[in-house]
Point group: T
Chain length 156, copies 12
């Protein structure tokens, strides 16, 4: 059914589609992980970490929407369902139960670090086949690396 | 570690905690499902369904936050992680790939219907042990039933 | 034609439907009455009563919309047409022509008083069959009683 | 009691007063009719018609207020009570119960058409006696004819 | 010096210029008079009259600007200087010193009445030579007559 | 296909349709011309003329939309396509390349002057057949004449 | 003097009046206490606690107004004067002078805990006599318990 | 514990500290008194006095915060607790129960008058030791004297 | 009639009243003069001077209101009527007819200079009798001198 | 006349200038075409297509301004006049007269497709000579491809 | 060249000019120092100090603009160039590289303290020659002392 | 101390760090230079240049913050202190004292030109090592070249 007239060749499209689908899953999971810790963090830095995590969530939700709609715009059906996210995410397991503030910060440093590594690979592989998608991924990487810095500075 | 001074007895807390955790999982999954269809819907009603689904997402994300923080306020650690959501959600499987607009509307009717049934049970069981949590669940049910009506009216 | 999947039993639905339809008619008529006096009030307190009545209109129009859509959400067609309102409203006849400010205030005290009495009965009868509808009616009653106090205080 | 110093002669005032009172009744009924269908419309176009009708309601409520206050400004008491509206409105009977979307659009085409015809007559008769009132009626007619076009285009 | 290319004949321009210059002087003086009473009113209705007068000032200042710029647009230099206003205004002398609230309302009824009479004559004489200027004067008259009603209703 | 129920007779409609179509073409071209000079103006007054031209563009785009939708509301299909505009516009050729600021101002004086002349004729011919359309054209003329004055004053 | 027509029986009114008056005193004192610590807190967490306390103040001031006006709406004169608050408040003595941040957080945990206990009793006793007042008290309790959680999490 | 590096000598600081602490207590009590009457006023002027009092509350709450933080900025712990306010306020006893509108206005005239007298003394004594604190007190006095005028004008 | 309880002695009040009344007249005339030139300026700098003058008008209207209400707050009736302004203003005659842009700027330099000189004298004479009024006049002087600089810089 | 100091070599500038001028013409025509169909669309999807087209217009107008000013910033005079647009646009002829909704959607799919193809070529050729211009064209292409997807999804 | 008509004598002007120029340099450097630490702070309090410093920057940038324009208004050319700031600032050397949060807070305490001492001297010396400039410096001092308190409280 | 996990190799990081540090210094100095001229410009174009320079300042301050935080995100401590800026800036000496408007425009053309040249080199050298930083520098260059065009057009 339904076929979008894609501006990319089949080979290019395959590369870009994988990059976008991978980015989507990582970003959706990052939002879920950040919310989980937003609700469960405890400790003296509770309030500041609680607020900071919602800024991560806002940024990441916006980017996941952009990435998914970019896939649709290229004629590729995006998949951001819970089961897919649980199976394919690049983020390691988030701790259950209450989380001490320093552990919360460390968890974000790890999660962001993992996503950034994969996102930079996506920036590299999409450069040739689709500079438009690459530009979107570059913008997302900039934001993630900014949040990454802040959490690292906070646990220094 | 960390213990909040709960205003409820242990038995009441157990009932309320289950209701809130169940509501949280349903609402997080509902947001993921609505976004999935928001990106994948096709057909003549594409635009109107696409926009309507984002209103569902906005409503449901707000409510999931309220429910999770209500659990925390009672001293119960909420769990909204991807794996938990994938495992415990009350919503049936959302179709992958492109979704015809009438199927999209039908999927929402089903998903909302499933969550509403469970939510009404939670309203009943929390009435006695914690009218404060019940009041939150009543407000959520009202919103879900309003969205439910609109999708039903749309497929009439 | 068109049948919404109602979460209520038939008996409960009948009770709730009557309550919502009655509330709708009362609220629509209350808005018309308040506007009528808003245009026709004269006297030293003209400006303050004129402005106060528009606040009543704003509140009441919002609530009438909520009540009508709540009926639709339960699968019951709401009826807010002029003839229905003229026939079924719980508000006594509003005076035609210019209205002296003290009479205007008194008219609102009476109209609000009549609607509040009926609204409290609706709060009582809906408690068991549908706490969701009841919660909406409780919120409306709170607002109406606040306006009622202000007009009473004004004619003291 | 209360007499405003009218800038019009008695004969002119009589003509203008009738035009304004007629316009008021038509506009109040149009708002009630549009709300009625806003709540009761069903079908694939539910959402777009539902939203479109609230734009009609917003426009028409604003204009009914302007017309009523224009009458007051000329010293003529306006009458927008439910019974008056039910008796004098130029709009034919609005269907009760659920309304299929195409019927909803058709009902608005009819209702707007009826009001426009009468409004254009009022524009004509007020030109001489009171260009100020006429200017208000011209502005209202422009808005009604714009809505009329949209509903006609929608059922084309 | 400086000559704007006027779209009107010389005779028409003379008529319109007089109407606009007259309107400008009346409106500037009306704003000064309303401010004067805004500062000097005393009595039980102090606050409501004080606020109402600032609404008159806002309306009238906006209109005086429109009228003056309309004159400029026709190539006629407008004159709104204090001496000109003091000499040519159609408003009778405003009382100095404190003003009792009922006297304040009466003063506004008189001032607005005087300006309205002259403004309606301007509407009549500009109809033929320049419907564009007439349309502006009609809109101003509508606003002034609305304020006139409110102050009359307030002293009823 | 598609026929809107027009409130005008055929003869009147023909007159009004020509006036609206003519106004549409003039306004669309005026916006294009103003943008062209907005981008190409140079000289000491660069910034002020650059900004002023965007105000012209904003005003004129709004009015062109109103005029086109007024035609649609009367059942007449409006035509604002590039070729039509290039062929039928009442504005003389706009200079290509960089434009000295005083020439830019002069070009606007000319373009506005040409459109105003034609717009005033349209105000005259529509008075009888459709005062509603005439009122729209009067409002547009007022705005154009205000801009005309400003550019004339600027080159004085 | 002045008697509002109360919708409650005398016995019910007595119960509800006591609940509302008690809630008012507690909330006014809570706002004063939170401001006191807002000004006097010192330590590494100064800024975050300083800001957090103003959020408590905003919430609590809003609720105290609602509660007092609810009493008025039932015809019961509310008393929120300094002496009454100093005498009847349920909050223990707030420390004078500078307050270390951890002590500040602990003081809020205690103050909120004390008010919540009393507020839950008020929710229970008002359920039968006045569900409208109860609904207001439930909403307040939800907000207080949310703040309570945050301060507890912060000192964990 | 905690010592701020004060820019004032000990003697100057003592004078300024007393002035600021006195101002704080007066302003907190003024807000409580204004709220008390806001809730309890009755009579024809109910609405206007009710609204006017909330403007006093807004002004005064803002100023009390500025004054308290000014004390902290000079290294002096401010005290705005209920007991301190009840004991040290310069405002006479506020009547309990319902308050007739003219009595409400008179009570505000008295309360504001009492605070203004003391505030002017504080302006005088702080001039030499700390023009920064004095400037804050001057601004507060200006606002209080404006409110004082309005209530006096209202009871004239 | 009406006597405000003045916080100043009779002698002090006389000095302050003269300063405020003088300031009021100067500021009202300054606004009229600035508007006059706003409408009549021509030349290459038309737009920038036209806009700049409206900023003067906005500033000055705000200050004239503050000054007049300050007089009222001290129990002195302010007089800002056209005839008073025409007679007592410290601004020299403003040219009638079109004004070349450089002359417009020069006129503002003169007018502002004249008012500033008088305003600085008022700052000096009010220092002792009423620092509250002085503070208001200082703030006004700062704004006037800022505008004065800009017009001087513009004609350099 | 007027020469901007270009940061590009002559050869590079020629390439970039052609790309920007081509993009400008396409975007201006796209806005005209979208507006044309916005006014002329009819059919059941009238409202949704009507609104969607205005979003295209908003996006495209913004981008055309950016592209034209980018040309100016490189010292190249942009040309967006009606005749140039009519002659050089890459969009095929837009149908005149009323347009059925499905045809309207198809027309947009075609027009956007044509512009996207050309825009992607411009992205390629500008990469080397001017990455700054390329970045702007990439952003435009992303937006156009998003709109392209939506219209395709809508006609699926 | 260019001479502003100064309202001060030469001797007074010299004193005031030195005070304003000194204040300008201190404030510009304070903004640069605060930004430097905003970017380089690390440690558990990273986020709160990072945000707090931007509030300092906002305040100080606003004040530096006011001070510089005040100098211009008195006819004195202000100098806020990098070299001047580097040479004349009253703030000691800001540490390069990463800054631990407690050191960051201490650095601000020192920097603010140094500027406050100099600012208070400027308040003293400008009192006689120019109360207008003094009033500006008083307002700045109040803001700086408020920030000073907060950083001191934070390192307590 | 503090080490951020950099996503770049050491060699790449060195290149990118130099580019970012260089950009930071240029942008901070550009803001200082623009403010300096903002305060000191005189001449007929005073107001337009004065306003235009603040737009430069706003743009450049935003970009300097982005660049500094990008350095931090890569683990490189940014240095924007006054002495560093005075020593390393790529902008030539800004004239002290009053600046004639045409000289002001020329100074900006020079300053922007110098920064653009260096910024384009940074775009080139960062392309390979870090496309994320490059993308930020490209966006900044676009903005600077837009401002550069405007000032050049203004002195044409």
């Amino acid at each position: 059914m339904y076929v979008v007239k894609s501006p990319l060749s089949d080979a290019d499209l395959k590369t870009v589609a994988e990059a976008l689908q991978g980015a989507l899953v990582d970003l959706v999971d990052l939002a879920l992980a950040a919310k989980q810790i937003h609700w469960n963090v405890v400790g003296q830095r509770f309030r500041t970490v609680h607020l900071q995590l919602d800024e991560v969530v806002d940024t990441v939700r916006l980017h996941s929407d952009t990435v998914a709609e970019r896939a649709s715009a290229l004629g590729v059906s995006p998949d951001g369902r819970a089961a897919t996210v649980a199976a394919d995410s690049g983020i390691g397991p988030v701790p259950g139960g209450w989380v001490k503030d320093s552990d919360a910060v460390a968890a974000l440093v790890d999660a962001l670090g993992a996503v950034i590594t994969r996102m930079r690979e996506r920036v590299t592989v999409t450069a040739e086949p689709d500079p438009v998608s690459q530009d979107i991924l570059i913008g997302i990487t900039a934001d993630l690396e900014k949040h990454h810095w802040m959490f690292q500075a906070e646990n220094a």
